[in-house]
C-alpha cells in the first residue's frame, strides 16, 4: 500500500469523522428538544397540545420519509445559504444534520415514552413544574435510552455520509466509490469497508459503555 493511498484513507477518515461529528452534535442539540416537545405535547401529557403535537409529528415524518440522496440535492439552496457553498464537506454536513434531526427526535420521544408515568405523577405530587419534570425526571430517567438512540444516529450518520460524495463532500464512502468501484481497485474498497466497520464498532462500544455507566435501572 503506497503512502499516497494511506494519506488518502486518513484524509477520508477525517472527513467522515468531521461530517458525523458536526451532524451528530447539531442534530442532538436540535433533535433532543424536538423529541421532548413531541413527547410532552402528546394528549394527556404534562404539556398536552394535541394540535401542535400533530403538526410536529407530520413535519418529523416528512423529514424522515425523504430519501437521503434526494434530500442531499433538494436542499442545495438552503445549504448554500447556511455554509455559503453547495459543495464540499461542510455542504454535506447540512443535509446530514437535517436528515438526523427527525431521526433523533423520534428516538428521544421513544426513550421518554419508556419512563414510567408513575415517576411523572410522583414529581407532580411534589409540586414540580412541567420544566422541572422535563429536566429532573424525564431526561435523567431516559438518559440510557437517549444515549442508545444517539449511538444509533451516529452509526446511521456514518452510513449516510457515504453519499456525501454526491456533493463533493468526500469521506470514506466517497473514497470507496471513486477509487474502489469506479477505478476497479478492490484493495481500496476493502480498506474503506474495514475502516468503516472498525469505526462503527468503536462508536457502538462507546455508546454501550456510556449507557451502562449512566443508567442505574
Amino acid at each position: 500500500m503506497s503512502s499516497a493511498l494511506i494519506d488518502l484513507v486518513w484524509q477520508s477518515t477525517l472527513e467522515t469523522l468531521y461530517m458525523v461529528a458536526v451532524a451528530g452534535i447539531l442534530s442532538t442539540l436540535i433533535g433532543v428538544p424536538l423529541g421532548v416537545l413531541l413527547y410532552v405535547t402528546r394528549p394527556r401529557q404534562i404539556l398536552a397540545q394535541p394540535i401542535i403535537n400533530t403538526l410536529l409529528g407530520i413535519v418529523t415524518n416528512v423529514g424522515r420519509s425523504v430519501p437521503f440522496i434526494i434530500l442531499l440535492v433538494a436542499i442545495i439552496p438552503f445549504t448554500r445559504m447556511i455554509v455559503g457553498s453547495s459543495i464540499g464537506t461542510n455542504a454535506a454536513a447540512v443535509p446530514l444534520t437535517i436528515a438526523a434531526i427527525p431521526f433523533v427526535a423520534r428516538l428521544v420521544e421513544g426513550a421518554l415514552n419508556e419512563v414510567s408515568p408513575g415517576l411523572v405523577e410522583a414529581a407532580q405530587s411534589m409540586g414540580a413544574t412541567p420544566m422541572q419534570i422535563i429536566m429532573k425526571v424525564l431526561l435523567p430517567e431516559a438518559r440510557g435510552g437517549i444515549i442508545n438512540g444517539l449511538t444509533i444516529t451516529v452509526v446511521a450518520l456514518v452510513s449516510y455520509s457515504a453519499m456525501a460524495g454526491a456533493v463533493g463532500g468526500g469521506g470514506l464512502g466517497d473514497l470507496g466509490i471513486r477509487y474502489g468501484y469506479n477505478r476497479f481497485n478492490p484493495t481500496v474498497m476493502l480498506i474503506t469497508v474495514v475502516v468503516l466497520v472498525v469505526m462503527v464498532q468503536l462508536f457502538q462500544s462507546l455508546g454501550d459503555y456510556l449507557v451502562r455507566k449512566s443508567d442505574h435501572k
Binding site: G118, Q124, M126, H216
Partner: protein, 347 residues
C-alpha cells in the same frame, strides 16, 4: 385537615362516560390515620388522586388545612402540594438518582440550598433506617427499603398530610408490618395526618383510626375502625370482614344447612362478641341454665385498636324449646347472633 366536599369524578362524556366517584364526602381530622378500603375498580385510586388533584374532580371541593385546592391556579396548587406528601404502590423512585438524591428531589424542586437540603435529608434517612444506603441506587434496594426511601422523600417538604396509595400492596407480610410501624411512628411523632387506600383489611386493622368503604364510586361506610370490625353496616363490609377473619363454616356443614327449622333440627349460629361480652363465660352458662350442649365449629379472637372482637360458629344441641330459650338468652347479651340455618339431628 382533609375535607372532601361532594367530590365527583367522571371520565369522558356522553353515553360512554364513566362516573368513577359519586358525591364523596370525607373528613379526616388532624393527626388521624384514615383508611379507605374497597375492591379493585371501586374508585380508591381515583379518590386519593383527587385529594392532591393529580386527578381534577369534575365537581365538588377539596380542602386541605383550610386551603381549597380545587379553587387554585396551577402555581398555587404546586405550592399547596408541598403540604401534601404522597407514596405509591410501586414506590416511583427515580432510578438514576441515589437514595440521598431521591429524598433531596422535593427540596431541589422548592429551590432550597445544598446546605438546607443536607440538613433535612440526613435526619430523614436516619429516621427511616436508611443512613447506610445514601449512595445506593433504588435497583440495589429491597421493596421495603424502596418504600422507606419514598416515605423519606414524601416527608422532605415537611407536609401536614401524607397520602398512601396502596403503599404496602407490593410488599411481603413482614415488610408490610415494618412499613406500617414506620407510618404509625410518623403519625404519632410528627402528628401527620394520613389518608391511605388499600384493599388489605390487615392494614386497616393495624394502623387506621377510621375507615371508609368505597363501592362503585360511593363511600358506603365511614366508621371508627373498632365499630367497622365489630359491626360493619353494609353487606360489602361484612364480606370484607368475613374474608379477613376467614371465619367460614366448614363446607360439609354448609351443605347440610337447611333454611327452616324442622322437627329434628339444631340451629347453627354465628356469634360476634365485642366489648364486655367477650369476657362472659357464655357457653358454659348456656349449658348450665338451658341444659343444652354447644358444639363449637369455628372460633377466633382478634384485637383491633385496643378492642377485642370474638367470633364463633356453633351448633346448639338440645330440644326445640331448649334451643329457643338459649337463643333468647344469647340475644339478651351485648353480642350479635345470626342463625345461619339448621342441621338435622344425628339419629
Amino acid at each position: 385537615m382533609i375535607s372532601l366536599d361532594n367530590v365527583s369524578k367522571t371520565y369522558g362524556s356522553g353515553p360512554g362516560a364513566v362516573q368513577a366517584l359519586k358525591d364523596i364526602d370525607l373528613q379526616v381530622p388532624k393527626g388521624t390515620i384514615h383508611g379507605v378500603i374497597g375492591l379493585s375498580g371501586a374508585g380508591k385510586s381515583t379518590l386519593i388522586r383527587c385529594v392532591n388533584l393529580l386527578e381534577r374532580p369534575t365537581a365538588g371541593r377539596v380542602i386541605i388545612d383550610g386551603q381549597e385546592l380545587t379553587a387554585m391556579d396551577a402555581a398555587a396548587l404546586r405550592q399547596a402540594r408541598h403540604q401534601c406528601g404522597m407514596i405509591f404502590q410501586h414506590f416511583n423512585l427515580l432510578t438514576n438518582r441515589t437514595v440521598y438524591d431521591n429524598v433531596a428531589l422535593p427540596l431541589e424542586l422548592m429551590g432550597q440550598s445544598r446546605q438546607a437540603i443536607r440538613e433535612r435529608v440526613t435526619p430523614l434517612l436516619e429516621m427511616t433506617g436508611l443512613a447506610d444506603k445514601t449512595t445506593q441506587y433504588p435497583a440495589q434496594l429491597s421493596g421495603g427499603q424502596k418504600q422507606r426511601v419514598a416515605i423519606a422523600r414524601a416527608l422532605a417538604s415537611r407536609p401536614k398530610v401524607l397520602l398512601c396509595d396502596e403503599a404496602t400492596s407490593a410488599l411481603d407480610p413482614q415488610t408490610t408490618a415494618s412499613i406500617l410501624t414506620l407510618l404509625q411512628e410518623i403519625n404519632q411523632q410528627l402528628g401527620l395526618t394520613i389518608l391511605l387506600i388499600t384493599h388489605e383489611m390487615e392494614v386497616v386493622k393495624t394502623i387506621c383510626h377510621r375507615v371508609g368503604l368505597i363501592s362503585d364510586g360511593r363511600l358506603v361506610e365511614d366508621a371508627d375502625v373498632g365499630d367497622f370490625f365489630t359491626s360493619p353496616g353494609t353487606q360489602l363490609g361484612r364480606e370484607f370482614l368475613n374474608d379477613f377473619l376467614k371465619l367460614e363454616a366448614p363446607q360439609a356443614l354448609i351443605e347440610r344447612l337447611e333454611p327452616e327449622a324442622g322437627a329434628n333440627t339444631h340451629p347453627v349460629v354465628r356469634l360476634t362478641f365485642s366489648g364486655d361480652s367477650v369476657a362472659t363465660p357464655l357457653i358454659s352458662r348456656l349449658a348450665r341454665e338451658h341444659g343444652i350442649d354447644v358444639s363449637i365449629l369455628q372460633a377466633k379472637v382478634e384485637s383491633i385498636q385496643g378492642r377485642t372482637l370474638g367470633l364463633m360458629i356453633a351448633e346448639l344441641m338440645g330440644s326445640a324449646s331448649q334451643t329457643r330459650q338459649a337463643l333468647a338468652t344469647l340475644e339478651s347479651f351485648d353480642l350479635q347472633v345470626e342463625v345461619m340455618g339448621h342441621v338435622q339431628r344425628p339419629d
